[in-house]
Symmetry: C2
Subunit: 455 residues, 2 copies
Amino acid sequence: MQVTRTLAKFLVTHKAADLPEAVRHEGARALLNWVGCAVGASTHATVKRALAALNEFSGPRDATILGRSERVDIFQAALLNGATSHTFDFDDTHMKTVIHPSAPVLSAILALAEHTKVSGRDFLHAFILGVETECRIGNSIFPNHYDAGWHITATAGVFGAAAAAGRLLKLNEQQMVWALGTAATHACGIRETFGSMAKPLHPGIAARNGLTSALLAKKNVTSAEQGIEGRRGFAAVASTKFDAAAITEGLGKSWEISSNSYKPYACGVVIHPAIDGCIQLRNEHKLKLDDIARIDLKVHPLVLELTGRRKPKSGLEGKFSIYHSCAAAILLGEGGEAAYGDAIVRNPKVIRLRDQVTAVVQKGVAEDQVHITLTLKNGRVFEKTIDHCAGSVDNPMSDADLEAKFRAQCKGLLPAAQMDKLIGLCWNVGTLKNAADIARAAALVRTKVKAKATK
Amino acid sequence: MQVTRTLAKFLVTHKAADLPEAVRHEGARALLNWVGCAVGASTHATVKRALAALNEFSGPRDATILGRSERVDIFQAALLNGATSHTFDFDDTHMKTVIHPSAPVLSAILALAEHTKVSGRDFLHAFILGVETECRIGNSIFPNHYDAGWHITATAGVFGAAAAAGRLLKLNEQQMVWALGTAATHACGIRETFGSMAKPLHPGIAARNGLTSALLAKKNVTSAEQGIEGRRGFAAVASTKFDAAAITEGLGKSWEISSNSYKPYACGVVIHPAIDGCIQLRNEHKLKLDDIARIDLKVHPLVLELTGRRKPKSGLEGKFSIYHSCAAAILLGEGGEAAYGDAIVRNPKVIRLRDQVTAVVQKGVAEDQVHITLTLKNGRVFEKTIDHCAGSVDNPMSDADLEAKFRAQCKGLLPAAQMDKLIGLCWNVGTLKNAADIARAAALVRTKVKAKATK
């Protein structure tokens, strides 16, 4: 069984020209969505505090923190962009593994691209290869690895970041084997942190560590030969299931990014069907929060596993509460970041309805499905079944939806003209002479307060 | 069960004055041993290549790479000193858990001390608290965690580094809880890398990550409240055994550093009894390599688990071969770094004898024991039992032994006067006004070639 080497060989030999056009376009969609997520959370306390902790230690300030004016070294940029783009839990999802694929990979290679010039074509290619790597590794160990408590976006993500950065660094096959081995020994991230600031740091940590693994390999720092499949390798150590063929079979024939999905709502993806249904019921029947006696949901098991928080205390915790999410959707008619502020989570009326939401697991309900029974105080009962929630692979957000989401995320943070430019760069990433243009176009340009900002 | 918080409270409230004198002295012994190990490997290819990969990205060059002239930022120093001090597998060992306690903790806090001035007294105290943290966490999950394939020096070490750095940063109790939580989500390092350059990187990675965790917590980046004991916490996710009381009971009453041990030989500690026995037989009977037909060992199970490499190809791999180690001990009469060069591992005579060494597990043989049957070509048979190998807790290296080991490691790398100064600083660490003096005294001072070296 030669898993790591087979994967490494594919990563260093695959040709950009052999990517199907639809796959390339999906890469651009993921890029646009990711940039919007990163900019959207660029003023959140998580990145502010992390930057306050690390800024004085920055090396050469080659790289942009998207949506901010400060520049930092490429490792800090990888860490911080990884964190912002996952802060609102609004980034993309590979539903088969619940991996958020873009954040670890793009955070690593966009920072690298600001240091080492790469074309948009190579950048997009490396990104897609990185997603392929992390999602295939995820497929090989899911669900056991995730169920054990590992945050798979982080643990698989580090391989994706190493693979993509390694491709851009033009590693040879042996170096790519070492990069994957060093990524394997960096794999970390536990679900106990969910609901705290450490959770969004995970894809950033994966990005920083994957980038480090590739840079070390480029200078021939050796590592395990079988970092993925070895007796003491990543899969054996961190999972009770390992399906090696999920990594090695059909490489270059199928593309995991094709099953990527994008969130219309800023919370755990398993809540989305319920939000969809609540918004639809609200709008169809012009419901108000006070009209409703109770909401009873039939859900997929992961809903309770991941988002069963009965009494969230903050906006961040609210993202992991199916109960809060339904109440907020009824109040606001949306599931964007507005539904996950600290104030709304503590709103007594929202809390009142939240406490009247029940969710029970029902066999046969898929992850993108829900059945809702909504009971009014006057005794009327409405039913709603969502088969494929908005943003799922079978009911995807359109390109226009993604643009609208991007604008909503960046509103108030970047001028409209800058948003337009960024959207254009993302759609046309494959033709850019310099992929770093995307990062630079996402920087906040301070004009009047420049003297203060650069202090 | 309040494990993380109980530990955090202890870490922020314990007083240096309450450390027993013997514990403080053991801290100084560990420090001296660690500095020698770091300097001793300061010209190894591992650190050269890693530095070549990372140097251009360094932030403010506040910190020393021990034994070298280059200065780097504190994260890189933590990483690289962690790597050098473990490169020759010659650093200290907490036998109960096979954790190498000093490397993750000292690499983090010595770098930090070069950035933020701390007294030698506080430095020594933080070091001892860091060792206490990592070894207690190790005790709570050993052996299951290690047997699963985790490199416990790395996975437990990150907690030790975070605890010690957090103490020096004067974290409050809540911040220390977060630092430990963020350390928990950084815990990584798999045994598949053993025999490659990635393995010695592990304590460096732990040091860098633990330092990062403490710095993030200082700026109130939140994390899990129960990073160690939670349902998806470190212990549950990465071990099938968890004895919480091993962490929380008797804090401040017993000290894990008291059972620290130091290696007279530059290889896996479980090989040491066999090397002891081979050297004794060689010297007692004036044996030469060519005299010997075969060597048969009865050993503890970990010997084969960790050091069963039949055909090592490099010096690094030789450290994980009980067979090579016995042959080299017969040839050289020692088990220092000289026994683990690439040349000796490939020496045909050494290979010939190595192939005639057998090792079988025998119940009742402890980790610091071995039984040797050595058969000469002329038919004579010698037997030797080692009950407590040199360097074990029951047969410790004396202070003078540690000084001699230090001098042997630094020979040819630092001038004799500098060695004397460093030895003095280590013994007197508790009285230093500035702990960073130790790092600065361990820098290689280039005189004539300065212009080249700083390029």
